[in-house]
């Protein structure tokens, strides 16, 4: 029943996201938004943390974007685009009359400047995603991107935050000796001119607030035929405490509060002054399992046997976890490698359904000695992790596991993941690009990240990943990803857990706000009824 409700909520929010606001839009007003964490630097190439990445699209436009009906890519700053039959050349024609937020024209020179920055490994941590680009040239409204090898993700990348177009003139004018200094100076100064998104940065106070003002030259039009956005501006307040964010919304001091704890969803959903939205996301919660033959202390690792890992997955009642941790506002993972909303996800339902008898058989076949201690490393202070530990401890006792907890903070958990000093630890992921290559590389491709630190290595998987990276035929590429998901499910280097939506509470007077599955906060069609 809860699953059906969740599916209905996902379908409803998807419909809202895809069709846009239905009511006639009011123009004007400043929307107040309570955030869990503040931005540090919103620049397409330097945005590294989600609070930065998710705001890039409000200030900067990309060449392409996802079609509203989800069918594929469409032009954004690009009026048209085409890819050569060998996949190694992309021709783009820019829209007529597009302007940055200070009124200056967006030209091919700006596109060349922006893409050259984005693919420079000395500047951008995301440069690797554009590794296939060998050159970018442009003149007038025409831009040509040349690739050294075919890259099936390249068009998706042109719709991704890190390739958003910045104003070359604004950067050249900004004070500073290096690109980093210029970027920081441009961001600190704020004001129109740096980008061509629906808003420009009008105020920023580190750790406290940020404000956007509407870009009068934005290239998109609203339902009334006039330029978007509908809002005059957006003001962000940084309120890290969940309870305080919600109180601010209930007191009418803000119009939207993000990251609502799942335990509060039902209560807020009954408040007639609020709308409780569960935006579909690519966020998955899973636990990497150390698959190395020995633990970091040199002792034999019982989790090295895949039957033991499979057994732990069968011994975990994921529906119960969804109920306990997410209060029903989520669903067990159905693909072992990605969220169900990531392209090319194979939906296996259930993926390791709860089966304690089978789990016990596999434990015995895998030679797991009853009473063996397994350490679950969790985040200190995380209520969700504490609940997960308590539930797993109880569930796994039935298959002879003595689960013990180790609480650490996030950087320590990251370091343990890198060094392999863990048995199992909690973790999560949100896609940054609308393509499975990033998450599959992270979770399974050994050279990328040691299969999310598990140490798992599978020759066929790695070869399939490398082949898929250059496969231009969509069907063959999908087949490669299908096979990788089969292998990964069978090998179970993770405890497959659940996927969660983005829980956002809005005042009843807000319409048109969307958080995309990648997490981006989209205000261009948001409006306030006054």
């Amino acid at each position: 029943m809860k699953k059906t409700l969740f599916a209905a909520a996902v379908a409803a929010t998807l419909a809202l996201a895809l069709t846009g606001p239905l009511a006639a839009q009011e123009r004007g007003g400043t929307l107040k938004f309570a955030r869990y964490d503040g931005s540090k630097l919103v620049d397409p190439i330097y945005a590294e943390r989600n609070p930065d990445i998710w705001m890039v699209g409000s200030l900067y436009s990309t060449l392409l974007e996802r079609a509203r009906d989800g069918s594929g890519l469409t032009g954004a700053l690009a009026a048209s685009f085409s890819q050569s039959s060998d996949g190694k050349t992309i021709d783009i024609t820019l829209r007529d009359g597009i302007r940055f937020s200070d009124g200056s024209p967006v030209t091919a020179a700006d596109v060349v400047f922006s893409l050259d920055r984005a693919r420079n490994p000395d500047l951008s941590p995301w440069a690797g995603l554009l590794g296939a680009i060998s050159g970018v040239t442009g003149e007038g409204a025409k831009v040509t991107i040349t690739l050294s090898r075919p890259d099936p993700t390249i068009l998706s990348m042109l719709a991704t935050f890190n390739t958003a177009i910045v104003s070359r003139a604004a950067f050249e004018k900004a004070p500073g000796a290096t690109d980093q200094e210029k970027s920081a100076a441009l961001f600190a100064a704020g004001g129109p001119g740096a980008g061509s998104g629906p808003f420009y940065l009008s105020g920023f106070e580190q750790g406290a607030s940020m404000s956007f003002k509407a870009n009068p030259y934005y290239w998109k039009s609203g339902a009334d035929g006039k330029p978007l956005p509908y809002l005059e501006g957006v003001e962000f307040q940084i309120i890290p405490d969940d309870a305080t964010r919600i109180l601010k919304l209930q007191a009418g001091e803000v119009d939207i509060a993000e990251f609502i704890p799942f335990a509060r969803i039902a209560e807020l959903g009954t408040d007639p002054n609020l709308q409780m939205e569960l935006f579909p996301s690519t966020r998955i919660i899973y636990s990497p399992i150390n698959t190395r033959a020995t633990r970091a202390d040199g002792t034999p690792n019982p989790l090295a046997d895949k039957r033991v890992r499979q057994a732990l997955n069968y011994a975990t009642n994921k529906e119960a976890l969804v109920s306990l941790v997410l209060h029903g506002a989520g669903a067990p993972m159905t693909s072992p490698l990605m969220s169900s909303s990531t392209p090319m996800a194979v939906k296996t339902d259930p993926l390791y359904g709860y089966d304690p008898v089978k789990a016990m058989e596999l434990m015995q076949e895998g030679g797991f000695a009853a009473g063996t201690k397994i350490k679950l490393t969790t985040l200190a202070g995380s209520a969700d992790d504490a609940t997960v530990f308590a539930a797993l401890q109880q569930m796994w006792t039935a298959v002879g596991v003595e689960l013990v907890a180790e609480q650490v903070d996030s950087p320590t958990r990251g370091a343990k993941n890198r060094s392999g000093e863990f048995d199992i630890h909690t973790y999560g992921w949100v896609d940054d690009i609308a393509d499975p290559s990033q998450v599959v590389g992270w979770l399974g491709h050994t050279p990328t990240a040691k299969a999310v630190g598990t140490g798992w290595e599978n020759k066929e998987f790695n070869e399939l990943y490398d082949t898929a990276a250059a496969e231009m035929d969509p069907e063959r590429r999908a087949a490669h990803f299908r096979r990788m998901q089969e292998i990964y499910a069978e090998e179970a280097p993770l405890l497959f857990m659940y996927e969660t939506p983005f829980a956002v509470a809005l005042s009843a007077k807000v319409t048109g706000y969307v958080q995309t599955p990648l997490g981006a906060n989209v205000f261009e069609e948001a409006s306030l009824q006054r």
Binding site: P125, E205, A208, I238, A243, A251, P411, R413, N417
Partner: protein, 313 residues
């Protein structure tokens, strides 16, 4: 000892204190588990990116070299650059310090305003119902965690009655006073409970002293006896306690700032620790050390003013 010489002596003592603080914080920060490169670049960074980052930051250099660099930078007035915020540490601290200092001064003022009169009322009515009621109410305040008091005040006074805003800092003195009233009151309720208990006990002790009995016996009005003799003498131990409380408040604003969304240095310190931003943690700790030391110095000076025996010792 002349007051100036006393002050100079105290200031000279600060030099070894700061040196010790620098050594301790430099080592403590590096004892924290977790790699600053991973904390700053994120889990998704590749091994090569992490290695290049560590090299660029000088994290691969020997500890002694890193320490000498740190000390020489501090001595030349440079606290380094925050890696997390990509800005000079001193600029970051300066942008966030006013909120914390304002909140601390506001809290202490409210605490003194609450504790002072009530301590007198309780002491002068020792053993009678006003004394019992005041002590019982403050006992409840002392028993509740600060974050819980904060949430209660937020829920009833801000969200339901809408008398105050739910958190934030505001712009300008009037807005600051309005926005920070609830967080300041949250801290003040706890601090005033401690101050009240101490001041009440001290007042009772002084009231029983022979010189006070004598002053009253020779017919001095009660107002004069309380102002000239009782308050002055009772304050000596309370000033010490107040100084210690301010020191605790300066470094303990984290909970209040988080619950009330106040952009102060308490929250910044938490972010810096989770981000393993060595330069920022070091800069903040040194700033706290300077501020707390100044508060303690002022406490000593006030005490020596109130009690000449301290100046002579």
């Amino acid at each position: 000892m002349a007051p100036l010489r006393y002050l100079l002596n105290r200031l000279l003592l600060l030099v070894p204190t700061f040196l010790l603080v620098m050594v301790i914080i430099f080592l403590l920060v590096r004892l924290l588990p977790g790699d600053p490169a991973i904390a700053l670049l994120g889990d998704k960074a590749s091994d090569a990116e992490l290695a290049a980052f560590r090299e660029r930051l000088g994290l691969n250099a020997p500890l002694a070299t890193q320490f000498m660099l740190f000390v020489s930078s501090v001595l030349s007035g440079n606290l380094g650059t925050s890696l997390m915020l990509r800005a000079p540490v001193w600029d970051v601290i300066l942008s966030r310090l006013p909120a914390t200092i304002f909140l601390t001064v506001y809290s202490v003022s409210l605490a003194v305003l609450i504790a002072g009169p009530l301590a007198f009322a309780a002491a002068l009515n020792r053993g009678r119902w006003p004394d019992t009621v005041i002590r019982a109410v403050f006992q409840v305040g002392l028993s509740m965690p600060v974050f819980y008091i904060g949430l209660l005040l937020l829920t009833f006074l801000a969200a339901q009655l809408r008398l105050f805003p739910v958190g934030g800092y505001g712009k300008g003195l009037a807005e600051n006073l309005y926005h920070l009233f609830l967080p300041a009151m949250t801290v003040a309720l706890y601090t005033s409970a401690i101050l009240m208990r101490n001041l009440r006990a001290a007042i009772i002790e002084v009231l029983d002293a022979e010189y006070v009995q004598f002053a009253r016996a020779k017919g001095l009005p009660l107002r004069l006896v309380l102002g000239r003799h009782v308050l002055r003498n009772a304050l000596i131990s309370t000033i010490t306690l107040l100084g210690l409380s301010i020191g605790n408040l300066m470094s303990g604003t984290l909970v209040t700032e988080t619950v009330f969304g106040v952009p102060g240095v308490g929250r910044l310190m938490l972010d810096a620790i989770f981000g393993r931003d060595y330069a920022l943690i070091q800069g903040l700790t040194l700033t706290f050390a300077v501020l707390v030391t100044l508060v303690f110095l002022m406490t000593d000076l006030i005490q020596s003013r109130l009690d000449p025996r301290l100046r002579l010792s």
